[in-house]
Each structure stands twice: as structure tokens, then as C-alpha cells.
């Protein structure tokens, strides 16, 4: 779907909306923060020999998304799935190779300056800023890049430093900050410019439990205080996505596989039986017929070899299938050490959709750190 209507809003900028989402009355749908239409991105990677044809990597393919204003929307997927590519396109750092994307009704390909006034981005493991400057000096510098008056910038810096508990460290050089404190400063940097849409790219990467909890709480409180603002979060932490997001899209190898609320996604597996099993080591790789997947009624299996045992995660069509699985294991010379039946998690949803665990790296087949 690519039919769009154009509107001019009171600040003089032209904005667009998709006809299907303009509520049938030919009005700009101001409730939509982000829309993508068959969005795609292909990378051409050249090898060391210039004469060789470039290798083509499909990082995104046919992505259609509608994110509403006020939503905390999550993109969940493994490394190399295309999450970062999507965020880079929406934040105007990268052009799509096909399709179209609108941010606040502005086209990411052509209305770059207007979009940049309204967005910000925070990435996990960020090392931005200048080590010689103090926390408040760095924040002041970035605030000025967004056109905030010096006085307003200082006022907002004070407010936000107090909120995240960094006020006492405002005169500390940022080179002396720990990873967690530095990421808190990065969060202030991202929010100080009063954005309407914030892109959070793996924001809790490398943080300890408490620091991760603090930054999550900060984002959630910001959305409560500013209900018309939007956050797009990419993560490969299931619990983070489950806890924070109003809606989630599961993405793998550049394609959206599912999109719904975390509850509804988990409900998809409500009828299935999910078990965690610990069994004696399964040993050598089985033939196709000997694989657990070959047992009738087994929907998905993930196998993790440990030092002294093997962990199995099973999604079965019905509980009764479990006895067949146990007989199968017995035939392979293994026996049960422990068994746990549990409620479906987002990880189960991911395994069900993709056929492997989230932490299995797919970057090699999908563009590495371009993902």
C-alpha cells in the first residue's frame, strides 16, 4: 500500500498519511507516529578485491508497520535480524532501497531536517561526548545542537540529572563515569531535546541489573508524563520487551513475523504444552529420523548441551505427546533428570515462529553488525 495524502500543518511543514489510515475522511491521522510501507533495505558489500561483484545482503524486506502516538513499541529479534537497520532508516541515518517510511507524517527520504527536529536516538554501549567535559557540559553541548536556549538547557539538565540521581556527579568528567552512569547520561542526552519520538536501540546492553532497571523506569515514567510521545525500542532481551512494550513486532532475517501485544503473542501458544526438560547428555548428533522433532506432535525443540546434562525446551501440540518424547529419549540412551511444565513466554513465541532460540546468532547470514 503506497497511496498517500499530503497535508500542510500549522508549522508550515507538509505531512503525509496513508489513505487506509486516514480514517476514511481524508484527514491527517495524527495518532500515527510511524508508518512504513513495504520497506526494504539491501546492502552491497564489497570484498577486498575491487573487481569482484559486491555481495548483496537483504537486511529488511517488505516491512509494514503502524506505530501509534503514545505507544512504547518494541522490535524483538536476534542479532542481525534487521532491527537496527529499521531504526537507522526511521531516524534518517539510512535510506531505504525500497518502500517508504513516514515519521510524524514526514518522509524519511526527503524531509530529513524536519524529522531530525522531532526525534532522538539512544544506543546501548554509547561512548559519545567528550571525556574532558563534565556531565553537565556534555549535555549542554548536545542540547544546543537542538537549538535549546542556553538557560532552558541548563534548567532541563538540572531537572533530569536530579531525576536519574546524577546531580551530585554533574561536575565529574564523563571519562570518569562507570558504564551505567554514562548510559544514564546518554538517556538524558536523548530526552533533553524534548523529542516526540525516541528510538532506543538496545539501550540496556551491557548494563547491570540495577542500572537497566533504572533506565527502563525512566522511559516508562517519561511516557506517563508525556502521553503523546512515542518510543520505539529494539531489544533482544525478552523480559525487557515483555515488561515495557505496549505492542511488539518479532523480526527475523529482515522480515516481520508477528505483531501484537505481548499478552496476545503469548496467547498464541496457550493451547500448546510447553516443557523444560533436563536429560542425561544426548551425545552425538542424531540422524534425521532420530531427532526429537521426528516424534509426532512435537512442534518445536531447542537443545542446549551443558557440561553434565542436556537442556531441552519443548513445545508440544498436547501434553500427551510428552510420553512419546520420553520413550524416544530412552531409545537414544538418555533418561530424564528433571521436568517442568510452564506458561508460554515471549521466547517460546519466538522459537515457535523462527524455529530457534533468540540468542542463536544469525548475523553471519544476515549482514553482521548491519543488522
Amino acid at each position: 500500500m503506497s497511496v498517500t495524502q499530503q497535508f500542510r500543518i500549522e508549522d508550515g511543514t507538509d505531512r503525509y498519511t496513508a489513505s487506509s489510515s486516514s480514517n476514511g475522511r481524508g484527514e491527517l491521522d495524527v495518532d500515527l507516529a510511524i508508518q512504513t510501507f513495504d520497506l526494504g533495505r539491501i546492502y552491497k558489500i564489497r570484498g577486498p578485491k575491487r573487481k569482484e561483484d559486491p555481495k548483496t545482503i537483504v537486511a529488511l524486506e517488505g516491512v509494514n508497520l503502524e506505530i501509534r502516538r503514545g505507544e512504547l513499541f518494541g522490535l524483538l529479534g536476534p542479532n542481525g535480524a534487521g532491527k537496527t537497520t529499521l531504526i537507522k532508516i526511521l531516524s534518517t541515518l539510512l535510506l531505504p532501497t525500497s518502500g517508504r517510511a513516514l515519521v510524524n507524517g514526514l518522509d524519511v527520504a526527503t524531509q530529513v531536517k524536519e524529522i531530525r527536529r522531532e526525534i532522538s536516538m539512544i544506543s546501548g554501549g554509547e561512548t559519545s561526548g567528550y571525556g574532558l567535559l563534565t556531565v553537565e557540559e556534555n549535555l549542554w553541548m548536545f542540547a544546543r545542537f537542538y537549538g535549546l536556549e542556553s538557560r532552558v538547557a541548563r534548567q532541563r539538565i538540572e531537572e533530569m540529572l536530579k531525576i536519574v540521581g546524577l546531580w551530585d556527579r554533574r561536575r565529574m568528567k564523563i571519562s570518569d563515569l562507570s558504564t551505567g552512569l554514562r548510559q544514564k547520561m546518554n538517556f538524558i542526552r536523548g530526552f533533553i531535546s524534548d523529542p516526540t519520538i525516541v528510538f532506543l536501540d538496545e539501550p540496556t546492553l551491557g548494563l547491570d541489573v540495577q542500572a537497566a532497571r533504572d533506565v527502563r523506569a525512566f522511559v516508562q515514567q517519561w511516557l506517563i508524563d508525556h502521553p503523546d510521545r512515542t518510543v520505539l525500542l529494539t531489544t533482544h532481551y525478552m523480559a525487557e520487551a515483555d515488561e515495557m512494550c505496549d505492542r511488539l513486532a518479532i523480526i527475523d532475517q529482515g522480515r516481520l513475523l508477528a505483531l501484537d501485544t505481548p499478552e496476545n503473542l503469548k496467547r498464541r501458544l496457550q493451547r500448546e504444552a510447553i516443557f523444560n526438560l533436563q536429560v542425561q547428555p544426548l551425545g552425538k548428533r542424531p540422524s534425521r529420523d532420530e531427532m526429537i522433532e521426528a516424534v509426532p506432535g512435537v512442534r518445536q525443540v531447542t537443545v542446549t548441551e551443558r557440561d553434565d546434562h542436556t537442556d531441552l525446551q519443548l513445545i508440544l501440540e498436547a501434553e500427551e505427546v510428552l510420553s512419546n518424547v520420553l520413550m524416544h529419549l530412552q531409545k537414544r540412551g538418555s533418561s530424564l533428570l528433571s521436568l517442568e511444565k510452564r506458561e508460554p513466554t515471549l521466547e517460546d513465541v519466538f522459537i515457535d515462529l523462527v524455529g530457534r532460540r533468540l540468542d542463536e546468532d544469525t548475523s553471519q547470514r544476515n549482514g553482521g553488525d548491519n543488522g
Binding site: R8, E10, S19, V30, S128, L133, F145, G147
Partner: protein
């Protein structure tokens, strides 16, 4: 686009913070980016030793050679002025030309590009900050060396001297802004490029001797470096022995500096825009690889 319905539509929102646009945003960005360089000079004072004393050693070597061979007294002054100007050349090479590459590595470039502040304002801020930073070093070298080697200056026209200095700096930092894009595009080679340019420019720009000594054609080719003609013009305005030791007349050299300023700043503007376009199209150049 199938339809166009240009109507006034208001977007509902909670109160927004006022943000500058246009010229005000440009200058806010310039000063914000200049700030780390200006304030940075007061944070680690070790530069006083390394960046004043070490250039003085090079200056001293040439001074003793000139004294030993009985060169005209003004040659001592030439070396001192040239030694002071090395501060600007090193600053342009390592803190302007290489800066965007380092900023990319640190993750700052991505944030610069993402912000509404123009990239040209960021580069100009770097130049202004760098000029202040290098200016302090140059003055320190000039004062100490002039006292140690008892240099006598005979300034005819202070306004003309100031104009020459300002034009030299505009052209030099314009070149630094242009190099910043070139170095960024050249990736890891940036480090080698900077190394490659450092010492040869000392030679062909005549930092420690009158550039006229290189002969007309070499000196003409070297005039693409603003310091070559800028330094030559300043020496003519600072010492009595000229114009005999000068390469071209001061007026011609000022004309060359004006042309170089326009060319380098225009090229910097064009290259930056091109670089961002390539970065967005190819998915490289701007983003830090994680």
C-alpha cells in the same frame, strides 16, 4: 503520491520546549562545538610543556644553524614566527582534518548528523575552538622564543598584519574543514594521510626559512597551502629586511589567501553534503560500527 490536500491541520501535543531554527540554531551549534576545545585547554595543562617546549627545540636548532653561518638577523625572527605557526598546522591536521574520523569512531558523528544543527556549523565550531586553542599555544611559543632569542620586530601596519593573519587562518581552517570530509571518507588511511602531510609541509611551506629559497615553481606549487603565502606575507610585514626575502608582494599573497578561503570553504560545504548523502545511501561513513 496520489492526492494532495493542502489544508491547515494542527497536531495535538503536550507543551513543547522552544527550539531555535535557522541562523540562531547555526550559531548555537558553532559555539556549542567550539566549547569543548576552548574549555579543554584549561583541563589538562600538560600541553604547556609538550606543545610549547618541544616546538622551541626545533626553533632553537635552526636559530643556532643560522647564527653559526652568519645569516641575516631577520632569519632568527623568521624561524620564531614559523615555529609559532606550527601550532596552527598541527591543530588543523590532527584536530580538524582527523576529527570527524575520530568522532565517528567515538559515536559522536552519528549524533551530530542526527541533530538538527547543521554539519557545517559543527565543523565551523571545531575550527573556531581549534583556532583559540592553537592561538594560545602559538602566542606562548612566540613570546618565549622572542624573549630567549632576542627577536626585534618592525611592524609597519598592524591592521594589515591582522588582516593577513585572519585571512591565513580562514584559508587554513577552511582547508582543515575540507580535509575533515576527505579523511573521513578515506577511513583508516586518515592516520597515514595526516602523518604524510605533517613533515613535508614544514619543508615546502618554509616554516623555518623564506619559501623563496625553494625557487619560483616549487614555492608556487606550495602556495596551495595557505600557510606558505600567509607566513611569507606576515614575515614581510614583521621584519625590515623584506621585500627582498619575500616570495610575492603582500597584496598578491592576500589575493591568493582570499581565493583559497573561498575555494576551501565551498569545497568543505560540498563534500560534507556529498558525504552525508553517500553515508545514507550506502549505510557507512557516518555510523559507528558496533
Amino acid at each position: 503520491m496520489a492526492e494532495s490536500m493542502l489544508t491547515d491541520v494542527a497536531i495535538r501535543s503536550t507543551p513543547r520546549v522552544e527550539k531555535a531554527r535557522g541562523f540562531r540554531l547555526f550559531w548555537a551549534t558553532v559555539w556549542a562545538r567550539a566549547y569543548p576545545r576552548i574549555v579543554g585547554a584549561t583541563r589538562e595543562m600538560s600541553w604547556l610543556f609538550f606543545e610549547t617546549l618541544l616546538p622551541l627545540l626545533s626553533v632553537a636548532a635552526y636559530v643556532f644553524v643560522y647564527k653559526a653561518i652568519g645569516a641575516p638577523e631577520d632569519y632568527i625572527g623568521f624561524v620564531v614566527v614559523g615555529g609559532a605557526m606550527t601550532a596552527f598546522w598541527l591543530n588543523v591536521l590532527w584536530s580538524m582534518a582527523s576529527q570527524l574520523y575520530w568522532d565517528k569512531d567515538q559515536g559522536n558523528l552519528e549524533l551530530y548528523v542526527l541533530s538538527p544543527g547543521p554539519l557545517t556549523a559543527i565543523l565551523l565550531g571545531m575550527a573556531v575552538g581549534g583556532l583559540v586553542m592553537a592561538g594560545v599555544r602559538a602566542v606562548a611559543i612566540l613570546v618565549v622564543a622572542s624573549l630567549v632569542f632576542k627577536v626585534t620586530y618592525a611592524v609597519g601596519s598592524i591592521p594589515l598584519l591582522l588582516l593577513t593573519f585572519l585571512l591565513t587562518m580562514s584559508a587554513l581552517y577552511g582547508m582543515g574543514m575540507m580535509f575533515a570530509s576527505i579523511f573521513l571518507a578515506s577511513g583508516r588511511e586518515a592516520w597515514h594521510l595526516a602523518n604524510l602531510l605533517q613533515e613535508p609541509i614544514y619543508l615546502v611551506s618554509g616554516f623555518y626559512f623564506p619559501v623563496k629559497a625553494l625557487g619560483f615553481w616549487v614555492a608556487t606549487a606550495a602556495s596551495i597551502i595557505p600557510l606558505t603565502v600567509g607566513l611569507d606575507a606576515m614575515r614581510q610585514l614583521l621584519f625590515t629586511s623584506d621585500p627582498t626575502l619575500g616570495f610575492l608582494s603582500v597584496e598578491v599573497e592576500l589575493g591568493i589567501l582570499v581565493v583559497l578561503t573561498v575555494v576551501f570553504i565551498s569545497a568543505a560545504y560540498f563534500l560534507l553534503a556529498k558525504l552525508e548523502e553517500i553515508g545514507r545511501r550506502e549505510g557507512r561513513l557516518i555510523e559507528r560500527r558496533r
